[in-house]
Amino acid sequence: MDNPISPMVTRQAMLRRGVAGAIALGAPAIVARPALAAGAGFDEIRHLLSRTGFGPRPDEISALEALDYAGAVDRVLGAWRPQAGTPAPAWVGMALAQTRARQREFQQRRETAAAAPKSEPSMADATGAPPARPRGAAMEPKPLVNANPIQEQGRELRNWWVEEMLATDQPLVERMVLFWHGHFTSALQKVRFAPAMFHQNALFRRHALGNFGALLRDVARDPAMLVYLDNAQNRASQPNENFARELLELFTLGEGHYAESDIKAAARAFTGWSIDRDSGAYRFYPAAHDSGPKTLLGQTGDLDGGDVVDILLRQPRTAELIVGKLWREFVSLKPDGAEIARLATAFRAANYEIRPLLKALLSSATFRDAASRGGLIKSPVELIVGTVRVLGLPVPEKTRLVRAMQSLGQVPFEPPNVKGWAGGEAWITTSTLLMRQQIMRRIIEASTVAMADGAGTGMMARPGRRMDRREQMAGDDATMQLPPDDSTPVEGRSLRDAGMSARVGGALAGLDAGMLTRTLVPVVPRVPPTAGASAGRIVAALLLDPVFQLK
C-alpha cells in the first residue's frame, strides 16, 4: 500500500533539499542519477527506519536512500556503542545501604513534620508553592530536599532514558534496550533501588545487539532482577520459586514446555544467588545454596544457576520464543510458524548472536512486502519519542513526556507486570486511543506555537522551577497540562488555525504535502491532505490521522 505520490516527485523533492539549491525550484522533471536509481528508495528506507527506530526524520531517510536495501540494513545494524551518551544521574553509584538510609531519613522527617504544628510560615512559600510543605523543610536551602528520594530518583531515571532516546544517533539500540526491558522485566516500584534499575538498563545496552546467551547469564545475576523476582530471598531451607518460574515460563521456554518439578529444580539451583545487603551488588551465599542433586528437563546433577541457563539455552524452545517475540516486535503481528522455526534454528546454531538474527528478520520477504507497511502499532514510547523527534520539538524537561507515556500504558522502568507490556493491538483500546489523540493535539499545539514564537514553550516545563517540579510529580493526572504561561494558545486558538499560520520547523521545513505525507505516515492517510493547505495544517492533520498510530 504505497502513498499516492509518484516516486519521481519525491526524488525531486529530496534532491532539492539534498543538492542544496543546485536545481531550480519547481523544475519540471529531474533525471535520476544511476547511483540513486540503484537505491532502495524513500518508502522502503522509511519502512526500515520506522520499524527499527523512532519516527524517522527526512534527513535520516535520505542518508540511506542511495544505498541498496542490504546496504541500508547493514548500516542500521552497523557499529554500535554499548553505552548511553546522556550523562547518568549523579546517584547511580550509590550503595543500597545508603539509599535505604536516605529513605528512612526522609520518612522520619515527614513523620516529624506531620506531628509538628503547621502555623509557622515556611520559607518555601516565598516561591509561590502552596503552604503545605513539611515544617522541617523550611530551613533547608536546597530545593526539592523534601522530595521522596525514591520517587525523585525514579523521575530522574525515566527522564534520563527518554532523553537518550530523543538524542541518540542509534535508535535501534534504544529499541532493543526497550525490547529487553519488556522481556526481562523489572520494575522500580518493586525493586525500590534506582541504581540497580540503571545498571540493569546498562546491562541491556551492553548486550542490546550482542549475544542472547551472555545477556541471559548476566540477567540471572542482575541485582534488580534478583530483587524483582524475589530470588534474593531464595534459599535452600525454603526455596522461593518466583524467579525460576518466570525464567522458564516467560524468559526462555514458554508456558507448557516444562513441568512443575522443573520449576522446583530450577528454584533450588538458584538458591543463594542474592545481593549484598550493603552494596546491593550481586553476591552468592554458599550457605544458602542447595547443593543436592536436582533434575531439570531430564538432566540430573548438582546444578547451579549457571547450569540452568546452559540447559535452557540448549532447548530449541528458547530460541523459538525469542525469535517469535522479535518477529512480533519488528516484522508482523501475524506469526509465521515455519519462518520463525527456521530463524530460531539458525539463531541457536549461530550461538545466539543477535545481529545476524535481526538482519534475517529485516531482510525477510514478509518484512519487505510493501503490504506489511503500517502493519504494526506504535508503542506509547515510540509514538511520543518518534513524534517529538520528527517534529524537532525542543523538550528540555522530559517529565511531561513520561506522563504522556504513562497515560497510554507504558512507563519506562515500570512494566505493568513480569510479562511486560502486551503490545500489539492491546496498545489501542477505547481509552488509550482517545488519549493518544489528545496527546497528539497537545504536541501539535505546542509545536506550532514553539515554531511561531521562535522559542520553545508549550510542551516544555521550565526546568528547576519549584512549581513545575511539584506539578510534575503530583498524582496520576492523565492529561498533559500546558504550563499556565502567557504564550499558551491551547483551546482559544484552534489547532487548525494555528497550523494555518505556523510554519513547520526543523527537519520538516520546506517539504511539500506529498513528502510530508510520505515522511510522517506509513500508508495512505484516512483523510488525505487538503489541496493547498499550509504545511502546519497538513502536519496537524497527519498526526491526528488513525494511520499515524501505525508503523
Binding site: G409, I428, Q437, Q438, R526, L550
Partner: protein, 390 residues
C-alpha cells in the same frame, strides 16, 4: 469459539430441561438486561487462607508461623472460619445476609502462572483448553440487546478480557469526563475499507466503538448524581466512584469491571495484604451504602475473583507462593448471604495447595443463569452449583 459457545449454550439448555421440575421448559427465562454485575479482579493471586481464615484448624498456624492471623484477631464467621480483621467493614453486609462467601473455588489441574491462570478464569476455560473470548462475551453471544444499546460493559481497569470478544461491546475508560470530551473531538474522521491490514482495522474498529459508545454515554453521564458517600481517592476508590456514577446514571450496561492489586505477596506479605483487603472492604462497603441509598442494591451483583490462591505454607520471605483454590465474595440485594461450600482441607493437599471443591465455571454459570437469565454452563457438566443467588 463459536463451536464452544454453541456447545455451552446447548448444554445449558439441556440442564434447564433436565431440572424442569420447577417449571419445565418455560423455566428458561427471558434475559435480564437491566441487571449489572460489578466484577472485581483481585490481581496477582489473593491469599485466600488469610482472607477467609480456617482459624480453628491447628494446621493453619503450624503452616504459617509468621503469617497466621492470631485467633483472637480473626473476625469469626462461624466456629471454624473467620475474616481477616481488615475485612471488618464488610460485617454490616454479612450481618444483613447479603454477602456470600463462596469457599474453595478453583479448577482441576490448577495452573500457577499468573497469566495463564487469569486467562483460564477470564475465558472460563478448562486448564487444558485455550479460549480467546471472555466468559461474559460467551454468555451474551447471540442474545439480542435492543436497538438502542451501544455499550454492553465498561471496564474501569486495564484487563478487559472477561468482556472481550464476540459481539459484546466493551469500552475501557478510566475517566468519564475525559472520555466524553475526547470522543467528541474524534468524530468526523474519514472511514472506509481497509485491505488486509489488521492493525489498521483494529484502530478503526476501536474508533468506531468510541464514536458509537459516546453518543448515548455522554448524555447519560452529563449531570449524573455523584456517589452519596465518597470513596477513597486512590486507585480502587476512583474506580468504584466511576462504577457508581455509571449505575446511578442508569447507563444501560450488563457489567462493570474494576481491579485491585497487586496481591502477589511473595515477600513480607502481611502489610501489603491487609492494606489491600482493607481497601477492598472499605470500597465495597461504601459501594453497598451508595447503592442502597439510591435504591439500586437489588440491581447490582458484586463478584470478586483472583487467578489463584496461595500456598498453605509460608515461604522464607514472610510471603506465600502461588497456590490454587481460594474463596470468592458475592454481594448484592439478591445474594443469599452466608458461607457456601466447605472450606478446603488443610491436610488433603495437592502440590502443597488446598484443593478446590467448587469449579469457578459453575459460579460463572450461576451468575449467567440466575442473574442475567442466560442458560450457560461454560462446559461443566453435572455441576452442583452453589446456591448463592435468589
Amino acid at each position: 469459539m463459536l463451536r464452544r459457545d454453541l456447545i455451552a449454550g446447548l448444554s445449558g439448555f439441556a440442564v434447564a430441561l433436565a431440572s424442569g421440575g420447577r417449571g419445565g421448559f418455560a423455566q428458561v427465562p427471558a434475559p435480564k438486561l437491566d441487571r449489572i454485575l460489578l466484577l472485581v479482579e483481585l490481581k496477582g493471586g489473593n491469599d485466600g487462607l488469610n482472607t477467609v481464615i480456617p482459624y480453628a484448624d491447628p494446621v493453619y498456624a503450624q503452616a504459617r508461623p509468621r503469617l497466621a492471623i492470631a485467633r483472637d484477631k480473626v473476625v469469626q464467621l462461624d466456629e471454624r472460619v473467620g475474616f481477616n480483621p481488615a475485612l471488618q467493614p464488610l460485617m454490616t453486609s454479612w450481618a444483613a445476609r447479603d454477602l456470600a462467601v463462596l469457599q474453595g473455588v478453583g479448577y482441576p489441574y490448577p495452573n500457577r502462572s499468573h497469566f495463564r491462570s487469569i486467562e483460564i478464569w477470564d475465558t472460563a476455560s478448562a486448564a487444558s483448553q485455550t479460549l480467546t473470548e471472555g466468559w461474559m462475551a460467551q454468555a451474551f453471544a447471540g442474545v439480542p440487546r435492543g436497538a438502542g444499546r451501544r455499550i454492553d460493559s465498561i471496564v474501569v481497569d486495564t484487563n478487559a478480557l472477561p468482556a472481550t470478544g464476540g459481539d459484546l461491546h466493551t469500552i475501557v475508560m478510566q475517566d468519564a469526563e475525559a472520555f466524553i470530551a475526547e470522543a467528541r473531538a474524534m468524530k468526523g474522521m474519514g472511514t472506509g475499507s481497509v485491505h488486509g491490514n489488521p492493525a489498521l482495522e483494529h484502530v478503526l474498529k476501536v474508533r468506531a466503538e468510541v464514536n458509537a459508545a459516546s453518543v448515548g454515554l455522554a448524555e447519560r453521564m452529563r449531570g449524573a448524581p455523584a456517589p452519596g458517600k465518597p470513596y477513597a481517592a486512590e486507585g480502587f476508590g476512583r474506580q468504584l466512584d466511576l462504577a457508581t456514577r455509571i449505575v446511578l446514571a442508569r447507563v444501560p450496561v450488563v457489567a462493570v469491571k474494576v481491579g485491585l492489586g497487586s496481591f502477589d505477596t511473595h515477600a513480607r506479605q502481611h502489610e501489603t495484604h491487609e492494606r489491600l483487603l482493607g481497601q477492598l472492604a472499605d470500597g465495597l462497603a461504601t459501594f453497598r451504602h451508595n447503592m442502597m441509598s439510591a435504591g439500586r442494591w437489588n440491581d447490582v451483583l458484586v463478584l470478586t475473583y483472583s487467578e489463584f490462591g496461595r500456598r498453605l505454607k509460608q515461604n522464607a520471605s514472610e510471603g506465600t507462593d502461588h497456590g490454587a483454590a481460594a474463596p470468592q465474595f458475592a454481594m448484592g440485594g439478591a445474594v443469599k448471604g452466608g458461607l457456601h461450600g466447605v472450606h478446603p482441607s488443610l491436610t488433603d493437599l495437592q502440590d502443597g495447595d488446598v484443593k478446590h471443591g467448587v469449579d469457578f465455571r459453575t459460579v460463572f454459570g450461576t451468575v449467567a443463569r440466575r442473574w442475567w437469565g442466560l442458560p450457560r454452563d461454560f462446559g461443566v457438566r453435572n455441576a452442583r452449583p452453589l446456591d448463592f443467588l435468589a
